[in-house]
């Protein structure tokens, strides 16, 4: 989280008439500069770098948060990956998270693009639509979870009522293992507001002249979308895919709220079908008192994210360019 203020640090450019600056004046400027960025730097050091480095250290220990950490070397990592007695659901959580990412990211992008195109096409009151479509993003996760539990209710849920109108039998969405991940991904697509705004900005950035030229050349709306708009949006799409995948791999709040009823402990839905990676990590950190293992899990996730992102840069970006 680099503060934008960093870019605006005043470095008073010497005026044309001014004499060359003396070294002590330059030193003072440096000092002022550092003072100005000090809050951001302090925040970074104390709340981001220090905890991250501590977590790296603790990932090599057996630590319950209470008694002194005991150095165990790579044991946490090897146990996580290979010991299915100690961590019976680790690979389940990896699979669930990858499935979720594979469904949620494309679904979110499509929803965001469609919404952006619609909002872009509206001539009057587009602000209102933008606000309405953005509302799911600013709604508290707890409220979102509670509302969607209702929408997915097998008996009273709106989703089943609508499906039944079309003759599709209602489903027990959140209690059927196969349907849990798609159901969660659908909620994330509903919350695509930020992607929608970014797509909208991308759309606004396409010069009207190009679109007009395409129209004059006889391109219909579909062709214009496929041959002009989509290619021009590629950098935007690439950015959204990369950030979307990173966010999807870390999904937590929604799952936590949806699967925790009153008095219920969260074990990740029916047959662990909603046990996402970070929920699994959270359980080990705060329910099973295995903070060392939880730290190791977070670094495994970090490595996974770095690999996935690097692959995207390597293969998708080349195509996007």
């Amino acid at each position: 989280m680099a503060s934008p203020a960093l870019a605006e640090t005043p470095t008073a450019a010497p005026g044309p008439r001014r004499r060359p600056r003396r070294p002590d004046a330059r030193r003072r400027d440096h000092l002022i500069g550092w003072l100005l960025v000090a809050p951001a730097v302090a925040y970074f050091l104390v709340f981001l770098l220090h905890p991250a480095l501590s977590a790296l250290y603790y990932s090599f220990t057996d630590w319950d948060l209470r008694t002194p950490a005991r150095w165990v070397g790579l044991a946490n990592y090897t146990d996580l990956l290979f010991d299915d007695v100690k961590y019976p659901h680790f690979w389940t959580s990896v699979r669930v998270t990858l499935q979720y990412t594979l469904i949620a990211v494309p679904l979110t992008l499509v929803a965001a693009l469609v919404q952006a195109l619609l909002v872009n096409a509206v001539r009057r009151g587009s602000n209102v639509f933008r606000l309405l479509l953005f509302l799911p993003v600013v709604t508290a996760e707890a409220a979102v979870g509670a509302i969607w539990r209702w929408l997915y209710d097998p008996r009273y849920g709106l989703i089943n009522s609508v499906l039944e109108l079309f003759g599709v039998p209602g489903q027990n969405w959140l209690n059927t293992p196969e349907l849990v991940v798609p159901a969660l991904a659908f909620v994330s697509a509903w919350q695509c507001g930020i992607s929608m705004i970014i797509y909208l900005a991308g759309l606004k950035g396409i010069p009207t002249a190009i679109i007009e030229a395409a129209t004059i050349d006889g391109a219909g709306p579909v062709q214009r979308l496929r041959r002009v708009v989509m290619p021009m949006l590629r950098p935007t799409t690439f950015y959204l895919v990369v950030t979307g995948v990173i966010a999807a791999l870390q999904v937590f709040g929604l799952v936590y709220v949806i699967f925790s009823g009153a008095g219920r402990s969260v074990t990740g839905g029916p047959e662990q079908s909603g046990l996402t990676y970070v929920l699994h990590l959270y359980l080990f950190a705060f329910r099973y008192d295995a903070m060392g293992a939880a730290c190791a899990m977070s670094f495994v996730l970090l490595v996974l994210i770095v690999i996935v992102t690097a692959l995207q840069f390597r293969f998708v970006r080349r195509e996007a360019a």
Binding site: F47, L48, H50, P51, A52, S54, A55, Y58, D64, L65, R66, T67, P68, V85, K86, P88, H89, R149, W150, D153, P154, R155, Y156, N172, L174, N175, P177, I246, Q250, F252, G263, R264, S265, V266, T267, P270, E271, Q272, V278, L281, Y282, L283, A285, F286, R287, Y288, D289, M291, A294, C295, S298, F299, L301, L302, I305, V306, T309
Partner: protein
Amino acid sequence: MSRTIAGVTVTAALLAGLTACGGGGTDAAEGRTLTYWTYQDRTPQAGQVLEKIRKDFEKANPGVSVKIVKIPKDDFNTKLGSAVAAKTAPDASVLDQPLVSKYALDGTIKEVPAGLFPDGTYFKGALDTNLGSDGKYYGLPVDQTGVALFYNKKLVPTPPKTWDELKQVADQVHRAHQDVAGMVVPKGDGYGAWMFPGVVAGAGGEMADVPGKKILFDQPPAVEALHLWADLLPSSPRKITDSDKPFENGLAAMQISGPWDVPTIREQFPDLDFSVAPLPYKTAPAGNIGGENSVVYSTTKNADLAWKWLLFLGDEDNNGAVADAAGGFPVNTKATPVGTGPENEAFLAQLKVAHARPAVPQWIQINDEIIAPAIETALSGKATPRQALTDAAAKTRTLLGWNG
């Protein structure tokens, strides 16, 4: 990118910082101060109860002041853990039952001194939740709670007493009303796995024999208990019971739940005519147990006072009110419960025959990660109860390094 990692550790660091200023027993010049951590008051009345007991204790022990620190339940364990790590643990605190054996194992808390209280002071089930894995007591119970059978009086005129009656009643209800389920069958989640031992005990079984290092939940009583739940499903389809509040909405004739549900249902569903009965059993009445214990920390300089305070919370005169304030039932056999009525009697009857969870430090994890999935596998029909539990028991033995 590594927001998760940062998140976890930042939280930990913050908590450590926050709690550093929390506890610590100090010898004040004018007398002694005892620090006691407990959960945030459930209600304003609960706060008044505790305040009155605190004053009574100070009156009975001149020169002593008790400092009560109240912490929201959700953050309690984390804050407590950080305080212990930072050596700023209080003299005594409330502690969640399954954590007692964990804290006992690494010496965080003190063993109960011999002869602290006469035999028969506390209910056995509640007292046994204070066992360490070495078979010694490491805390005193404060209040206890458990689950019992809620039944809709219109659909179930007389509550079933035995497993056979339960199956029969559920079947009759569903036969008569196709859109009504006989019972809300618990799920294979952490909560269902917490209730399960009560049912196993109803067939005369236990989940484990801790001193003997034996896992017993693959034995006939547990298998039969899981069979019971599986057998109930045809007359209690998930399609009905997975909807919102099926029992409250009259769509399920029975459910297993705890005393916390009684006032909520009365308030939100005043038209529902229901009552509570002890859990049906196979060979002997039995139930599970939850609630709070209190423990004394090894770092305290006021151990004698701390035990005195814990005894005071659990004594015959105070425990009724204390337990009620904590949302549970008294643990002292002679204390008078605050609540009356048939529901309270059902829960009390249940708690007299309650069985504590096995005093295994890793029990929460075993409960969530091994037993719960086994229950779910059996209930979804992917394995028979025997297969599911045999498999789960084998995993548990490997995890604990037990051979029996």
